[in-house]
Every structure is written in structure tokens, then in C-alpha cells.
């Protein structure tokens, strides 16, 4: 779709402790419904949003982490993770959920759209975006 804009959602905060991550996800879902080119970037404590095995029963909060795994179904095509942020927290790609994506028309499938990228690539991707939502 040629008149769609490149939307980048910059997720910078841990999933719990503040509401930013959850309310960011709500905007992502709406933006995808508007048929924009939606990408997500996880940076700083935002990388914790994608960690596997989240359990919120002890804090009385809704565990919304399963929603990230459905984003491929909402035509979100790219989920980038900042490598330096992962490393600073002792995490690797193996600690993160995998998100499958399939093009319903061409049946092209990508097993995992979560991609770890270095700082130079982070800068490039932000530069290429038309709109950057920062949460």
C-alpha cells in the first residue's frame, strides 16, 4: 500500500511498573488496523517486554505478554530488539518470545519476526520511519 506511512513504536520501558508498555500495545493494534507499515523497536528496559515465561500472578496485574506473539496476525512485520540493551541486562535472543508472521495472500511465512539489531541499525531504522511513537 503505497500511501501507508512507516510507523515505528519505540518501546523503552519494562512491561510492568508503569502502564506505558500496555498502552503502547493498544496503539500498535489500532495503527495496524489503519493498514500502516507498523514496526516495533525494543530498547533499554523495553527489551523485558519480550521475555519468555512472564508470570504476573504475584503482582495482581494482567499478563499481557501473550499479545506480543499475536502481532504477526495484525500485519506487524518487524519487531527489532536493540542488541546493546539485551547484553547490558544479561539477556540473549533465546530469552525472547518468537513471533510468527504469514502473508495471507502469498502464504509467505516468516518463522520469527523478532530480530536483534546493533546500534547503527537502530539509528537507520529510526531515520527510515515517517512516524516514531515513543513509549
Amino acid at each position: 500500500m503505497s500511501d501507508a506511512k512507516n510507523f515505528m513504536f519505540l518501546n523503552r520501558r519494562a512491561p510492568y511498573g508503569t502502564i506505558y508498555a500496555w498502552e503502547s500495545l493498544e496503539v500498535v493494534l489500532i495503527a495496524a488496523a489503519f493498514e500502516q507499515n507498523v514496526s516495533l523497536m525494543f530498547i533499554d528496559d523495553g527489551v523485558y517486554q519480550l521475555t519468555k515465561g512472564q508470570d504476573t500472578t504475584g503482582i495482581g496485574m494482567k499478563n499481557f505478554s501473550p499479545t506480543y506473539r499475536t502481532l504477526g496476525d495484525y500485519e506487524v512485520r518487524h519487531m527489532y530488539v536493540d542488541k546493546a540493551s539485551l547484553e547490558a541486562r544479561g539477556l540473549t535472543a533465546d530469552d525472547l518470545v518468537e513471533v510468527e508472521w504469514e502473508d495471507w495472500e502469498t502464504e509467505e511465512t516468516v518463522d520469527n519476526i523478532v530480530e536483534v539489531v546493533d546500534s547503527d541499525r537502530v539509528a537507520e531504522l529510526l531515520e527510515e520511519s515517517d512516524v516514531v511513537f515513543s513509549f
Partner: protein
């Protein structure tokens, strides 16, 4: 240039709303256009007319209202964020069985689609918050 503004923090606790107001006012005075101001997260708390700051302090809510009156600004409060935080207009009060409203004049409650539309329609979306 056509701007849209997103305000992510409440008044007084955080400078985001003041900065957004100053930016919007300056842009309008320079002849730029503001398509919409969208209040999200605790930013929705900028939209209550019940705010009563001390007399020697700025009234952030009234600042927005006056700017909106002068330039016919579209001030939109996110409905989902507003419901969580108790910002209520007539429609919401009726729908959710509330006994009062508190929305400030010139503000309206609507959905996140308004934010996405603003981002699509504007040359720049400027986000204010942490």
C-alpha cells in the same frame, strides 16, 4: 508545517504538558498548523475542568482551553486511558453509569484511531513525555 501533538503525562507532576503547550502556542504563532493535540496515558488528566492550582501558579488546563479557543484547536482525550483515570464527559457518564462529569470545555473524548489519524495526516507528530 502541519503538526500533531501527543501529551503523555499529567499536569504539574511533569513538565510534558507545559512543554507541549509552549511548543504548540509557538508553532501556531509562527503560522504553523496544529491538526490535533492528543492526550494519552496520564496526559488525559490535563482534560479535567476540576483542576484548581494555587492562584500564583499557572493553570495548565485553562491554558489549553484558551489556546483551543483562540486557534480552534482539536483537543482529544483517549477514551480507554480516560476511563481508567476517571475523565468523564456526558456520553461516558451515561454509558458507564457515573454520577458526574469533569471534562474541560474544548476537550473531547475519543478513540486511539484519532491519534493514528493525526500521525497519518500531519507532517510531524511531536510526543511530549519521559
Amino acid at each position: 508545517m502541519k503538526f500533531s501533538i501527543q501529551v503523555n503525562e499529567g499536569p504539574y507532576q511533569h513538565q510534558a504538558s507545559d512543554s507541549a503547550y509552549q511548543f504548540t502556542k509557538a508553532a501556531l504563532e509562527k503560522g504553523h498548523e496544529c491538526f490535533r493535540v492528543f492526550f494519552y496515558h496520564d496526559g488525559v488528566l490535563n482534560g479535567t475542568r476540576l483542576t484548581t492550582p494555587p492562584q500564583d501558579d499557572r493553570n495548565i488546563v485553562n491554558n489549553w482551553v484558551e489556546l483551543a479557543e483562540k486557534y480552534d484547536l482539536d483537543l482529544v482525550v483517549c477514551v480507554a486511558a480516560a476511563q481508567r483515570r476517571g475523565i468523564v464527559d456526558d456520553g461516558e457518564a451515561e454509558r458507564n453509569g457515573k454520577d458526574a462529569t469533569n471534562i474541560a470545555p474544548r476537550f473531547r473524548i475519543s478513540g486511539l484511531g484519532q491519534l493514528v489519524e493525526a500521525a497519518i495526516q500531519s507532517d510531524r507528530l511531536v510526543v511530549f513525555g519521559d
